[in-house]
Symmetry: D2
Subunit: 370 residues, 4 copies
């Protein structure tokens, strides 16, 4: 109830602060018999880790996850899986400057308002380091779902796939067809934008922002392919609502829409509606996919596509007005090494949160309706 | 787990289809001793009910809610509250045309994909009639929260208030300052837009769309005032994430953002960050409120403001291509009486979902942190 | 979280007081397509209803349950099912004597300690009338489970059966073999004890106790047959633990054991252990069933058998010392019409709670492990 | 949902097998600011650890728990607390004999029936080693509750106390007044029975059973003092029901009763009812406490007392009939070092489960009713 768990049947509980002993996750409810290795989990973690390119924070954190339970002879056993990444020793002094001051637009003030005090080392629990636990847990879900094929969404049974990418950084927008994008396209450059030309301009922008000691926001396009029709619960736990919550729970996310979303406002129903037809395989399909892959909150078999908005991150090197913990006016010029733009590292997090939502709804639907 | 409950401590479970016996809700975990009458609940329901103006559906539904349990001598008792609205008799024939056909962009097809068959009378469980249960339950939360004052958010202790309004219909945008808008302003016209001039144009547009047998979308601005700092859980159950889920669970909602949201993408951190200062009362405040009232998912004491996107509703009178339940191509021209634009009736639903989120987090914070 | 819900996937939420509008239940997560009628539900309710024989309370309550949602064309639809029984008008005066006094060993005092006040009409929410909601909801689970066959537990695939009976009233014990008892045996007399001779003595005892204006306790033997091996979760949600909670949540229940339970204390492991063997069908079975059908909290395929202890009910006609709501010493001589012994009416409640536990674990196991 | 979590607001999730990386627990929802050290937690763990006396298993396991998150400057922070105990290296060969055979009355067979295979090293997840995680988590709850005083239960505000003890081993029963027993009394001998003379006889019995290569059961009396009136939820989540579930979730527990429990069966209501009176401090009290400290599932302010039945543990050195994983008949003579009687080591586990139940209900009541 304190909000550190996600999912009902495939349920993860994350723990850990940026500093202190460790960051990790317990995965409960995982089906037994999934064959997976620490190395396969690490592939996803490496997409998220700091220091991976010139446009991310130069911090080097030990994002090495170990499996300490629920695992035997290369397979999940059905019992809770502990995935843990130990924190490295650090110099407390690095963060002493933040001990008594509230960073603007950061969670320092609200944590103190809530709990009475806070672990001020490296943002404590509000650190994005927490998201490595989500990515690690989701890697197991992704492995399981890769063997589940969507019936309606198009011929080849390639399993459920999560292929998010960076669509916009600042005012620079990519032009990508989410229907044809591949995981390989996304990994083809350091900003994870499949539009190569635009990617270069995005990288330039981030480098400029970094040089300015500032930060910049952007949009990630989420794409989930081959989801079978029928997942999602019709009232509160719509796939669209659960994806929205999942994405809005990521640090720095301030907006979410699905299908045409904000772009549907000016349209008439007669324009926006997706007409049904029956394809050659006898599956009911829609000619367009303005809805984004869900109807009434339940997956339709079409590709699920949505957008996730990241604000510019709050920790910047420029001097800012703020107050200290006594309420006195002061100036802050953060010296830490932060990401000028979190989007490239956030792509695997969007994939992970998508996988956690789909995995959970897959099991929920299986329980009630199979 | 089948998604018909919302909230952890102030927990509602809704039930009922558009037709059949009744629609309603069980409210569990409600504090005892709240003085409230059926009439006070009805005030909110009347804002949602069909047939309230020339721009809503002319259907007349009996949105009269009765309290059947958890209530004694004018007060809640702490035990589960049953709120129920009986459905009226109806002519089955009205819906026979929908029995064997999938309405484009409606949930007919996905319900069948999920459950194997569906209650085809009046959209069944996918009917927006379900939302009356939410509005009724939330009226109790709103009563309770009206006695809770936010410490930081400005002077007069008027309790927590929910003042949403219509900001955009199609391409017509209002110009409203959410900081000064009042509940009375919202109710001053039938489209619930406090910008009177723009409201007239919106009404004209909806009438035109109605005459065309079509539908139109829009945006509701959600506003929650006087929320004390410290509510919300820092990781998955952020106030922002839970509001997002709450809004995205409303029928026809396809997008949500908080604070500047989508508008923050092009900004630098140095522009977007809200500088802290200490006000005359000694409260820590922010000079701007780009974040929208939450920092790290926890309320900051500033006004919570967010946007909710409604697509044009799918049921229209224009002829559309679709398939029947046998998968055969057919045409559909719906004859039912539907809203050309759901926004005016959705305003109290946005308020209601906001109240359910804040109420739940208020109790959760009280349990752990008071 | 206020304890009015039971089950995770087949989840019921009950509501209602003894007096006031109604008593009932929302069943969420019910599989679609279960064919059931109101009459089939009524069969179980009639086993629980007051006034059914000379040894139960002579009160006549309208235990007629209506299905108001989640039901279409004779089948469950997968959406929430509302089952409701309206309360009859009553004379408030009947209960005025209890308004200002705490009945010894009743919940009057603790409700006030908890909520600050209480609905004093007919015990309010603490009334055993609440259990009719459980019985109604469980009738649906029982229908579903009657089509599920246990693999190991013996030949004929008759589906999962719930056959509880009265084993002891006061000091009078029956001698029944739970392995061979049938539902028909249980219904063969008004006290629901399959040992006919002992049943007569039990009935005599209850009549004597009734004549004395007193009450008497007893033990119900719970029996669940044909549960497949593999249900139950190994740590906190053991089948044995969940059955224990289920039974201890019934009014007046003060004890529970499974298998030999309290009778195992004096035994050595070498006596108590159930040896495995392989039966003719190739199923792994145990020669004895001292464990009661679960090993490590997971069903073994053997018959689940357990005992449920009911204290003598607290409301009696004899004069008792107590205090009033001002804390002043007073005498109480209850004039209401109460059961001298709740056991005959509690048999279907034990069956119902057993069905809710098994149904929930069946779906949970299906989600993770099928 | 896979049963590895316990509690709603003070929620623990345990993980880990007997062998493999580690055993531990995440505590979510813990109030911030509790001052506690690893040493204080260790005190409880040392009461549970193997090898503590001549009558427990001679195994030496590293029951050293580390706090890796949710903790800063000697206090809980309000974020999830990871408590972890690493497993030592072990000789796989020790357990190879159990790899292909089902121990009678153990969970080997049912785990395989459920998950398809099992981690056969040292009972895997079914190992009682899992309970160290519960004891560690509960130590935090016990610290918090020690500062909470019951209003009605008698004068000195000493905080809520958990003082369980061994009441019976085999047929040997102690004679102890639970009202006056102290924690020190319990620790005064290695079997944790405050009746010194009887304790000696119990120890002799266990030594004899051990010499026989057999095992023996017993009863632990649970005692919780100074619980304020008003905790517990009136329907499913009664204090009595949740305590029952908590205790029945402990390995080898087969029965539970509260107050007079099984001993109430032969009584009349007029004998069993606890008469109310008002004490000198003006608190409503009961002259007797047959109910065991709860009325209608809600704490009354009187001492909560209950009994927990442990069967003789299944792993013994005597030769037993069983089958192997192929279903073939075989003999088993376990060579491992197991407890002949788990009761002395189970006393802190009963205290721990009691603390988890009371802590959770304390927070739940605070949320709704304070």
């Amino acid at each position: 109830m304190a909000g550190n768990s996600f999912g009902q049947l495939f349920r993860i509980t994350t723990f850990g602060e940026s500093h202190g002993g460790a960051v990790g996750v317990v995965v409960d409810g995982c089906p037994p018999g999934i064959e997976i290795t620490e190395e396969e989990i690490q592939v996803q973690l490496d997409r998220r880790k700091p220091g991976q390119s010139k446009i991310t924070t130069p911090r080097k954190e030990p994002d090495i996850v170990k499996i300490l339970s629920g695992y035997f002879q290369g397979k999940t056993t059905g019992t809770p899986i502990l995935l843990i990444a130990y924190n490295e020793e650090f110099e407390s002094d690095d963060y002493l400057e933040l001990k008594d001051v509230y960073r603007p637009s950061h969670a320092d003030f609200t944590y103190e308002a809530k709990y009475g005090f806070r672990d001020w080392r490296g943002s404590g629990r509000a650190s994005a380091r927490e998201t490595l636990a989500r990515v690690a847990a989701a890697a197991i879900a992704q492995k399981y779902l890769s063997a589940i094929g969507g019936s309606a969404s198009g011929g080849k049974n390639t399993g459920i796939e999560f292929i998010s990418y960076v669509e916009q950084v600042g005012d620079i927008k990519a032009n990508v067809d989410f229907n044809s994008v591949t995981a390989k396209d996304v990994e083809s450059n350091i900003i994870r934008c499949p539009d190569q030309k635009v990617a270069e301009r995005m990288i330039e922008l981030v480098e400029k922002v970094k040089a300015d000691g500032d930060s910049i926001g952007g949009i990630i396009q989420g794409v989930i392919k081959n989801v079978p029709a029928g997942l999602g619960e019709p009232v509160f736990d719509k796939i669209s609502a659960d994806l929205g919550k999942a994405m809005l729970s990521i640090n720095a996310v301030k907006g979410f829409d699905i299908g045409l979303g904000f772009r549907s406002v000016g349209m008439r129903g007669s324009e926006h509606n997706d007409a049904f037809y029956t394809d050659k395989s006898g599956n009911v399909r829609t000619k367009t996919n303005n809805a984004g892959g869900t109807l009434g909150g339940i997956s339709s078999g079409e590709t699920i596509h949505f957008r996730v908005v990241f604000k510019p991150v709050s920790t910047i090197k420029k001097e800012q007005d703020t107050v200290n913990t006594k309420g006195e006016a002061t100036k802050l010029e953060a010296s830490g090494r932060h990401d000028p733009c979190v989007l490239p590292r956030a792509v695997p997090i969007v994939d992970a949160m998508g996988a956690l939502v789909i995995m959970d709804h897959y099991l929920r639907n299986k329980a009630q309706n199979s």
